[in-house]
Every structure is written in structure tokens, then in C-alpha cells.
């Protein structure tokens, strides 16, 4: 009712206003005549001024034919605004106006560029297999396997919305670029990457700082939508971690001014990735027991003692890499890489309900190599394209193993006889590789095969003597294999549907099949992909 009244009032006001200002036809005609006359007068004035101007210009040319000379001199002298001392190349230019609006159309339309990538899977496994033998150790808390990566970027059985990946990229100012990528899953939001890179350093140098995927190897830096298979290679997952080698730190890289692409990089990282830089830090080991007391009443006891693990502050992980790519013309591209890293800390622990605490405390190092080859003949929608990539990583964990037991509510003591306690220096040597090839067999379609092998070397050595008097090799586990076949249908470069079949063959005799379906779609300004 109130609304009705208001509307009526507004209408009335508008109507009176219109009536008051409504001119008669005669008045309008008079106005038009006046306007026309003014227009004519102005046009005449413009013509006169133009004539004067061109006459003056002609005179100038006649009088000073060398008038162009100072203009050339002006061109030689530095022009434009004051040069920014921080700025190797002048960021601001004089306008080049030649039709068009002179505005560069690249990179300015959206700032920051925003993209959303949705990734979902359906999976069916014949067996719920754990991690391959020898690799459940360095994965999460020692001993407790996590199934088939039912977290992070792993694939769970059934329908599974892996993540919605939200990316913001843009230039901060003339000196820095920024990228923030958040991964939103059904239950939480995780900052996948958030870093700045310098954009104005001279001599081919670049610094990256923040939380980022390390540049070691080839696939480590890639996100889910870059993968050519539904899941990541074991190499990335088991040697580095579910999220790859994703760390907070700083990277310095240098692109050599050579005719062939040659890039060197060095990274100083906090060191938390489970595969090569697992960090527990010092703290208290706690255990609560509830035992029957007098009259069978439950009595609660809290057991607490220092773990006495090395508590080094970051940075703990240091990595380096070199990438080299010869120029093979327009149809072929290849990149070779070598990398390595050292972590000052590698720690793991397993608590047992018997009151025993096993800890591993030491350091780790890894080396690896990667190869990527791409062929593209420019066929319609990826038709005829071929990608081959292979990577290998070897890691060594040098740790002190201790097995301790609560002897009272606040003391952990080594087990074994006092003369030969259960404390050993242990060395683990393990490796992993994968090789995959993907071919675009028709426009929009590609298919690929991947072979994963882990634990080709899969050994633990005891350097000291253990409580049983053994020394030397402690464990010699074999290799586990996974063979995956995928087919992808990509209607456009922004959407893809994928099916994958994997056969897993573990060293411990377990095997199983996995069937996976995936769709991955991207929305918004999705940036160009690095090689």
C-alpha cells in the first residue's frame, strides 16, 4: 500500500515537471534557428583559422628549410619523463598515436587475471592398496599408511570433487608480479601457491619468493590441470609428497644469454615436504592410559616426555637445478634437466600404545634428471601432437633410529640392554621414475601410456650394530610398478574429460586395478602455460 502511494506521488511530481518545461512548437523553432546561426558563425571562424595556420606553416618551411634538423636532434636526445633509477628499461613511453587508441591490448584488460578450475573424479578400485613397500615410511607419520592417497591430490573411490582451484595473477607494480592460488575442496581451503616474482631484475636474473612449487624436475611445478593423467606420477607423490615439493622460501634463477635455452636456479626453502624434508621438530610425546584401579574404577594417567628431536629452524632445504633446451625448430621441442637437493633435517616418528616411541632423526639428499620432448605439427585441436616425458629421482635418508620406552610418567629411555641400547645409524636409499607418452590421435582426442616404477633401489643400511648384533644391510625391498592407460577428450582448450585404467603390481605380492574418470574445466582468464 505504502509503495503504491509512493509511486503515485513520484508519477505526479514527474508529470508536473514535464508540463512546466514543455515548450511550444514556436519556441523550439526559434531555438533551432538560433543554434544554426551560431553553428555557421563558428564554422566560418574555424575555416579562417585553418587557412591562417596553413599559410603560416608554408611560410615557415620556406623561411627555414633546415627546420627538420632540430627535430632530429630532439630524437637523439633522451626524451620522455625522468628515467626511474630502479628501472632498467623506461616503463613509460610517449604516446604513439596512429589510429587505434594506442593502448596495448595484452595483459591490461583484467588485472588481476582470475581463473577458476574445477576438477572432479570418479574412481573404482579392485583392491584398497596401501603405498608400495618401503614408501609408507617416508609418507606422513611413519608406519601409518594413508591408503591410496585419500587426501591432498590423491584419488578416492567413488565420486570425488578434488578441488576448485582459484587463481589470481597480475603485476604488482613495474618491479613485481604476484600469483595466488587457493585450492578449495569440500571441507577446506588451502593455499596452494602464493608468491611474487621480480620482473625488472637485469642480466636475466629472477627472484621468486613465497610459497611455491619447486622448479626441480619437470612435473613437480605442474598443477592438476597440467597433468596428462588423472593422478600424478608416484615419483612426485612418494619421493616429494602429495603436494609435490611445495615449500615456503626463495628462489633465484638465471637465464643465460645463450642461443640455446639454459637456466640455472637455486632455492632456499623452509623444509617441510614429507618425502625429502619431513620435519617434526622437538616437542613432547604424550600418551594417556586408562587402567582399572581399586574397585575397578578407571584411573587416567598422562605420560609425557621430551622427544629430544633436533629442532633446527628453517631454512632446512636447499635445492638447485639446471635446464637446457636445444632449438629443434618449429615442430620439435626438448628440455633436459638435472637437479638435486639437501635437507638439514629429515624426521619421522611412530608412537605405539605399548608406550614405545620410535624416532628417525637425521638429514636427506636427493638427485634427479628429467627429460621432456614435444612434437607438434600444428594439427587441428592437438591432432598429431606427441609428448614424451620421463623423470628419475634418487634419495638418501641418513637418520639416527631410536626406539624408546616410557619407564615412568615423564621419562623415555632407550630399549635394549644398557651396554647396547636400541639406537642405530640408518641409511635409506630409494629411487623412483616414470616415463609417459601421450599422442593426439584425432582432433580433440589424445591417449597415453605411463609406467611408474618405485624402489628400483629400495634399501636400508645399518651402519652401527643393533641390539641383535646385526650390521650392514637391514632391508632390501624390491620395486613396485604401476601401468596406466588414459584417453582424453578435450572439446576446447578449456575443458577435458578423461578416463584412465591403471594396474598396480607391488613388491609385496599385492596387485590391483584402478579405474578413474575425470573432468577438468577452466573458467576465466587462464594464463598461458609454461613449457
Amino acid at each position: 500500500m505504502k509503495k503504491c502511494a509512493l509511486a503515485a506521488l513520484a508519477l505526479a511530481v514527474a508529470a508536473t515537471g514535464a508540463m512546466a518545461s514543455e515548450p511550444t512548437l514556436e519556441e523550439l523553432m526559434r531555438k533551432i534557428e538560433a543554434l544554426e546561426q551560431r553553428d555557421q558563425e563558428r564554422q566560418a571562424r574555424i575555416d579562417r583559422l585553418e587557412a591562417e595556420l596553413s599559410a603560416r606553416a608554408d611560410r615557415e618551411v620556406e623561411e627555414q628549410p633546415e627546420a627538420a634538423a632540430p627535430r632530429r636532434a630532439e630524437r637523439m636526445a633522451p626524451r620522455g619523463p625522468q628515467r626511474d633509477p630502479l628501472d632498467p628499461a623506461p616503463a613509460r613511453l610517449r604516446a604513439h598515436q596512429f589510429g587505434g587508441d594506442g593502448a596495448v591490448t595484452s595483459g591490461t584488460a583484467f588485472n588481476p587475471a582470475i581463473s577458476v578450475i574445477l576438477d572432479a573424479t570418479y574412481a573404482n578400485f579392485t583392491d584398497d592398496l596401501d603405498e608400495p613397500p618401503g614408501f609408507d615410511f617416508g609418507h606422513g607419520h611413519g608406519g601409518h599408511s594413508h591408503g591410496n592417497g585419500g587426501h591432498g591430490h590423491g584419488v578416492e573411490e567413488g565420486f570425488n570433487l578434488r578441488e576448485a582451484e582459484l587463481t589470481f595473477t597480475g603485476s604488482v607494480d613495474p618491479y613485481f608480479d604476484m600469483m595466488v592460488m587457493a585450492s578449495i575442496s569440500e571441507s577446506d581451503i588451502e593455499l596452494e601457491e602464493a608468491y611474487i616474482t621480480t620482473s625488472s631484475l637485469p642480466s636475466g636474473l629472477q627472484i621468486k619468493a613465497g610459497k611455491f612449487l619447486s622448479d626441480v624436475g619437470y612435473i613437480n611445478k605442474q598443477h592438476i590441470h597440467d597433468w596428462l593423467f588423472v593422478d600424478q606420477p608416484w615419483m612426485r607423490e612418494l619421493m616429494f609428497g602429495d603436494e609435490g615439493l611445495n615449500e615456503v622460501g626463495v628462489q633465484l634463477s638465471w637465464l643465460a644469454p645463450l642461443p640455446t635455452y639454459t637456466r640455472f636456479g637455486f632455492e632456499v626453502l623452509e623444509g617441510t615436504s614429507p618425502g625429502v624434508a619431513a620435519f617434526e621438530g622437538d616437542g613432547r610425546h604424550e600418551m594417556v592410559t586408562i587402567l582399572p584401579g581399586d574397585n575397578n574404577q578407571p584411573i587416567r594417567n598422562r605420560w609425557r616426555a621430551d622427544k629430544n628431536l633436533n629442532d633446527k629452524d628453517g631454512p632446512r632445504l636447499f635445492t638447485g637445478f639446471v635446464k637446457w633446451a636445444p632449438d629443434l625448430g618449429f615442430d620439435h621441442a626438448m628440455q633436459l634437466g638435472a637437479f638435486g637437493g639437501y635437507s638439514r633435517v629429515w624426521q619421522n616418528e611412530t608412537g605405539h600404545s605399548s608406550g614405545r616411541l620410535e624416532t628417525w632423526d637425521g638429514d636427506s639428499r636427493f638427485v634427479g634428471a628429467d627429460l621432456v620432448y614435444k612434437y607438434g605439427r600444428g594439427g587441428l585441436m592437438g591432432h598429431g601432437n606427441f609428448v614424451f616425458q620421463a623423470e628419475y629421482v634418487h634419495r638418501e635418508l641418513d637418520v639416527e633410529y631410536r626406539s624408546r620406552q616410557f619407564t615412568d610418567f615423564s621419562t623415555l629411555e632407550l630399549t635394549g640392554p644398557a651396554s647396547d641400547p636400541d639406537r642405530r645409524d640408518q641409511t635409506w636409499r630409494q629411487d623412483a621414475f616414470y616415463a609417459q607418452g601421450v599422442y593426439g590421435f584425432a582432433p580433440r582426442w589424445n591417449a597415453g601410456l605411463r609406467v611408474d616404477g618405485v624402489g628400483l633401489t629400495n634399501r636400508a643400511y645399518d651402519d652401527g650394530r643393533d641390539s641383535m648384533g646385526r650390521r650392514g644391510m637391514r632391508d632390501d625391498l624390491g620395486a613396485s610398478w604401476r601401468y596406466s592407460l588414459q584417453t582424453t577428450f578435450a572439446p576446447t582448450e578449456f575443458s577435458r574429460l578423461r578416463a584412465q585404467l591403471s594396474y598396480l603390481d607391488f613388491d609385496d605380492g599385492h596387485d590391483g586395478w584402478q579405474f578413474l574418470l575425470q573432468y577438468n574445466m577452466s573458467l576465466g582468464v587462464h594464463g598461458a602455460h609454461a613449457f
Partner: protein, 292 residues
């Protein structure tokens, strides 16, 4: 080790000494323009081969190596190279050629593009709200870009400014004369069907009507249904079907067979080391194909 460092320094020094302005052009047509304007004062490298669709390239390390040492990057712009050039620029570690810097030149910024301001909705295909980037099909527009490029080159090598300006003028005069001749030749042409919105620049300049596009949406290959609809709508008319050498042949061949028209697939980019002569010859072949 010392010897290695010395070798690296020497190679770097020799490369620097080769030419005055190291220009990297994204596509061969822009490379041709840079070579025409810059003449002996520039050394031009081209990133994309002529027989590829510049929409769908991948950033290769060799592009980054070329851009690392470049003084000037000459791009088409208007998002033509958006799928790969930004990645190549990022990977090049060369601040000079970043967007907005003196070493980044984009042709599209210096001419009036057609098809500007469409909706930025990918449901409509691979659209370019900034405008149609294929302005190099219009020699006059390319000549306009040539003047801007001459100016930019003059900023980098002021001692050659007059040469650059003279070369740009010569190219523009030639473009104007050619276009005028072609306009007279194709007057009364019946019209063309194109695969993609690219040669419509040339058709527009020559006043040749574009009857249809084989792609239902930019970047989306034609479906059988779309082709049948085209046949229905064009039945009884007269015209010719033109596509570039990298665009798929099937749709054009089907249309030609159904309508009884001629169809041709022509290069849209000159060879890597081409001259202005090659460029006018290339556009000339398109004009010839549009003749009534």
C-alpha cells in the same frame, strides 16, 4: 671453468655485436614488417612458423632463449598470441620486452580493429573482445603499424630514425597503390565464404561481401549441421570459399562440392625470411581468389 666463463662471455659479446636492434617477431608477417622498416639496422627472429595457427601455439624454451636477448618484441596483439606469448615473456627473464615497456610493441594498439567489443563469453567460442587481431590482411592497416614501428625503432636506434621513417613511408605508399589497384580489380565481386574471421579485413577494404563463416563460433570446428545450414542459406548464390593453409579442408571442400563454388586454401603468413614483395604477392593471391 675460467675457459668456460670466457667462452660464454665471448659468445654473448659476439651475439651483441651482430646487429643493432635485435627484434623478435611473433608471426612472420610482423617479422616481414620489422625487416622492411628496420632494414640493415635490425636482426629479426620469428617465433611462429607461417603454416601454424598463431592462436594455438605452445611456449617453447627456444622462444624464451630468443626473447632473453631481444631488444624489441613485435607482436600482433589483440590476444592473438595470448595462449603462449605471456608464458614465453615470463620465461625470458628480460624486463625490456615485458608488456608496457619500450621493448614491447603490439601492432593492434596502433590501428582501428574491427569486431571490437564483443561480449567476453567463451560460450561464444574463442572470442577476442579487444577486436579481430588479423589486421595484417589489410595492407593499409599494416602500413599504419609500420609508422608506429618506425617510431619505436627510432627510440631504440635514433641514428637510423630517418631510414626507418623513409622505409615506413615507402611501404605505406606501396600498400595504398596496391589496394587501390585491387579495389578496381575486384569491383563487382560476388562475395566470399571464409573459415575464420581473418581475411574479412581484406574483404572489407576491397568491398567484397563476406557471405558466411565456416566456423559456427570462433575456434570451434564446423559441425555437419552447421555446414548443411550454410549450404541451404547460400544455395543459388554465387561466390568463392577461402581458407588459410592451416585451417581444416573438409568443411570448405564439402561446401564447394554442394554449392558448386570454387574453394582455395591460401597462406596467411609470409615465409620466415620474406620481404615486402612476398607479402604483397601473398595478399595478391587472396585478391585474385576474390576476383569476380
Amino acid at each position: 671453468m675460467q675457459r668456460l666463463i670466457l667462452a660464454v662471455v665471448l659468445i654473448a659479446a659476439s651475439v651483441t655485436a651482430l646487429a643493432e636492434v635485435r627484434v623478435v617477431a611473433t608471426v612472420p608477417n610482423m617479422g616481414m614488417l620489422a625487416r622492411t622498416i628496420g632494414a640493415d639496422a635490425v636482426d629479426v627472429t620469428v617465433l611462429a612458423p607461417p603454416d601454424r595457427d598463431a592462436h594455438y601455439l605452445e611456449a617453447r624454451p627456444s622462444m624464451m632463449a630468443a626473447l632473453r636477448r631481444a631488444d624489441l618484441l613485435v607482436a600482433v596483439g589483440a590476444e592473438l598470441e595470448v595462449g603462449w606469448l605471456p608464458a614465453a615473456q615470463r620465461g625470458a627473464h628480460n624486463p625490456e620486452i615485458r608488456v608496457g615497456r619500450q621493448g614491447y610493441f603490439e601492432g593492434a594498439a596502433h590501428v582501428d580493429l574491427i569486431d571490437v567489443g564483443g561480449p567476453a563469453d567463451r560460450a561464444l567460442g574463442d572470442v577476442h573482445p579487444a577486436g579481430n587481431p588479423h589486421f595484417y590482411f589489410d595492407p593499409n592497416r599494416l602500413a599504419t603499424v609500420g609508422f608506429a614501428l618506425a617510431d619505436r625503432l627510432s627510440d631504440l636506434a635514433p641514428e637510423h630514425a630517418d631510414t626507418f621513417q623513409a622505409n615506413a613511408e615507402a611501404f605505406a605508399e606501396r600498400a595504398q597503390a596496391q589496394v587501390q589497384r585491387w579495389q578496381e580489380q575486384v569491383a563487382g565481386g560476388s562475395g566470399v565464404v571464409l573459415y575464420h574471421k581473418d581475411a574479412n579485413y581484406l574483404a572489407g577494404v576491397l568491398d567484397v561481401p563476406v557471405l558466411a563463416y565456416i566456423e559456427p563460433l570462433p575456434g570451434i570446428p564446423p559441425t555437419a549441421r552447421h555446414l548443411r545450414e550454410l549450404v541451404q542459406s547460400l544455395q543459388g548464390q554465387d561466390g568463392t570459399i577461402l581458407a588459410t593453409d592451416f585451417q581444416p579442408a573438409q568443411g570448405a571442400e564439402f561446401l564447394a562440392a554442394q554449392l558448386g563454388w570454387s574453394q582455395q586454401r591460401l597462406a596467411s603468413q609470409v615465409a620466415i625470411d620474406a620481404t615486402a614483395d612476398d607479402y604483397f604477392a601473398l595478399i595478391g593471391r587472396w585478391v585474385e581468389a576474390m576476383l569476380p
